[in-house]
């Protein structure tokens, strides 16, 4: 799975969870760029990412993520382990 595929998968997830008509993200996008991305939405996004990409994301790693790019890297590494 490529980083681009993961990125568009995440865009779909954000669309659903943040109830937005469309979502465009870049490697440097952060939670603060979205109004509805609070701590509850954050948990929902991590769960949805786990289910969509069939990976496990630990609570400690999820807590340290700063940008979408880091999340993509995390998923990418897990998928290609």
């Amino acid at each position: 799975m490529t980083r681009d595929e993961i990125k568009s998968g995440l865009e779909e997830i954000l669309k659903v969870i943040l109830s937005l008509p469309s979502v465009k993200i870049t490697e440097t996008t952060t939670a603060r760029d979205f109004k509805g991305w609070d701590s509850l939405a954050h948990i929902d996004i991590i769960i949805a990412a786990e289910e969509t990409f069939k990976v496990r994301i630990s609570a400690t790693k999820a807590a340290r993520l700063k940008t979408i790019g880091e999340l993509i890297t995390l998923i990418h590494e897990k998928k290609n382990e």
């Binding site: 659903v16 969870i17 109830s19 701590s39 509850l40 948990i43 929902d44 991590i46 769960i47 949805a48 630990s58 609570a59 999820a62 807590a63």
Partner: protein, 559 residues
């Protein structure tokens, strides 16, 4: 498990503008924020706009013991007390004396429950899944200092408390966790990230449990099971295979029989000739259900929707209290289409799955259980005999006279409270104000001199109908106010109505009150008693001087 829509669906779901408004409260030792949103979304799908009052994370004791708490400022249907075993685990590790952990928790818990009782608040308490880590291996379950030993102790004490307190009901989270598997249900990750009590995938299940209890509390109960015969109660077609060619599904029949003993009316609706259909009930040695277990038995070639209407009329019970059990997808669809108010659980084509499917279809919630439940089918069968006898009588008075009716009027007391609460919960049509007083309300009123609480039973030559009416009146200044009046529709038009009002007048006289006030509050279902007060001599909306000596004046107010 039942399939629900997704967590995300309910999380964002909003009620329509026309939805009925209700309010509950939730408090827990865990985060209940997104759970509350899901409950709100679940109720929205059921046409209810639910406001949920929440206490902050882990402030159960504080918010319950605080008199100015938000729970006490507005009327709520009930309070959900949600306990996560993961929070208890964290506290257990910090506690000094491990073997006293449960007793300390329970003494706080009891204080919470007793406070809520004084505040007259109904409580739904969660049970605990207890299979967490085991420092002593298998022996943990028997070693007092272990976590799961203490959790099991807490769990059994919670259940015991609920059992002993009529204002409490159990929200059996332990059962739900067992059904889905604890590894799926609990999520250490979500606990660590957000203090979630379980995985969000199961929030819709929890919401549905709460909704079912809510429904039962509001009196929306299922009462009648309509069962098909061929390939539902037995393997084979009686019309073609004959009595020796069919094979009864015994486990399923035992299950239905236990539902009947719990108070459901079992009825049969089958496309068969009656003489064929009834044969196995009479002569097949392996049949568990017998003819006397069936309240109404219909076998003909009419559409099933026509027959269900007939059953509804005969039992005098609304179709919205019906559950239709049929192996044929065609028949299920016919009923869903023609009678959408009937609950039609999806059955699989594998009869070994019937019990699980019905058990989880969500119509079994029932907040009360009394010994009288077992006799319900018998009562309806007696009713059939009465009908037959009425048809042969020369006049209505003649028929009533011949019944040899005796009614016993009793004050509510410990021995009849449970049945009274149940009657109030189950009566929809003959219900003057639909107050849905609970058992704990009745307990309180029965011991309060301000109230006159009466129960009526009825017996005649065909049998004992048991308690069939409850009347709660409140003494206000010089008047007696009819706070609640319910009667079972089984005994309509037998003069009971007049008898009950005479008893109310007697109570007023005994208490030297010279006025009786009644009030009709319209619900979706109680049109039957709309004119009851006028017919019983009440004058609408105005005070009127009494003409008969010492007899109280009736007045009525209509809403």
């Amino acid at each position: 498990m039942l399939n629900h829509k997704s967590y995300q669906h309910y999380l964002k779901n909003e009620p329509s503008v026309t939805a009925r408004k209700e309010r509950i409260a939730i408090a827990g030792n865990c985060s209940t924020e997104s759970l509350s949103k899901v409950i709100h979304g679940y109720f929205a799908d059921e046409g209810i706009s639910l406001e949920i009052l929440e206490s902050a994370y882990d402030t159960v004791n504080l918010s319950v013991l605080d008199n100015s708490s938000v729970f006490y400022q507005k009327n709520i249907s009930f309070l959900v007390l949600f306990y996560s075993p993961l929070k208890l685990r964290d506290e257990f590790y910090k506690s000094q004396e491990k073997s006293a952990f449960a007793s300390e928790f329970i003494s706080d818990f009891q204080a919470v429950i007793q406070t809520l009782k004084k505040k007259n608040i109904t409580v739904l308490v969660t049970s605990l899944p207890t299979s967490l880590e085991r420092c002593f291996g298998d022996a943990s379950a028997i070693i007092e200092e272990s976590l799961i030993f203490q959790l099991q102790l807490i769990n059994s004490q919670i259940k015991k408390t609920v059992q002993e307190n009529s204002h409490c009901h159990l929200l059996d989270i332990e059962y739900l966790a067992n059904r889905v598997g604890l590894d799926q249900f609990l999520s250490e990750k979500l606990w660590s990230m957000g203090k979630y009590p379980c995985h969000t995938n199961y929030y819709p299940h929890i919401a549905s449990h709460i909704f079912k209890i809510f429904q039962a509390k509001s009196g929306n109960l299922k009462k009648v099971l309509v069962v098909d015969l061929d390939n539902t109660l037995w393997n084979g077609m009686i019309g073609e295979d004959g009595i020796d060619g069919i094979e009864p599904f015994q486990e399923f029949q035992y299950y239905l029989k236990s539902l009947k003993d719990k108070g459901f009316l079992l009825t049969v609706c089958s496309k068969n000739d009656f003489s064929n259909a009834v044969l196995p009930f009479r002569d097949h040695p392996e049949m568990i259900l017998k003819e006397e277990d069936i309240a109404v038995f219909i076998a003909n070639w009419e559409p099933k929707s026509t027959n269900l209407r007939a059953i509804s009329q005969q039992l005098n019970l609304g179709l919205d209290s019906f559950v239709f059990i049929d192996d044929s997808p065609f028949e299920r669809n016919e009923i869903r289409h023609s009678l959408p108010e009937v609950l039609v659980p999806e059955l699989s084509d594998d009869p070994t799955e019937y019990i699980t499917l019905l058990d989880q279809a969500g119509f079994l919630e029932n907040l009360t259980f009394s010994g009288a439940d077992k006799l319900r089918t018998q009562h309806y069968q007696q009713e059939n005999k009465r009908h037959a006898s009425m048809e042969s009588a020369t006049s209505l008075d003649d028929y009533l006279l011949n019944l040899g009716m005796k009614s016993k009027v009793e004050k509510l007391n410990a021995s009849n409270l449970e049945r009274a609460a149940q009657l109030i919960q189950r009566s929809n049509q003959f219900n003057l104000r639909t107050q849905r007083l609970s058992k704990s309300d009745l307990e309180r009123m029965a011991s309060d001199k301000k109230y006159v609480c009466l129960s009526f039973s009825l017996e005649d030559k065909f049998g004992d109908s048991g308690m069939i009416s409850v009347v709660i009146c409140e003494k206000k200044n010089k008047e007696l106010f009819i706070h609640e009046l319910v009667m079972s529709c089984r005994v309509l038009k037998r003069g009971m109505e007049e008898f009950i009002f005479n008893a109310i007048i007697d109570s007023a006289l005994e208490n030297s009150l010279d006025q009786i006030k009644g009030e009709y509050i319209r619900s979706d279902k109680n049109g039957m008693v709309e004119n009851l007060l006028e017919k019983s001599g009440f004058v609408l909306g105005t005070l009127k001087a009494s003409k008969q000596n010492k007899r109280p004046t009736f007045i009525g107010r209509k809403i």
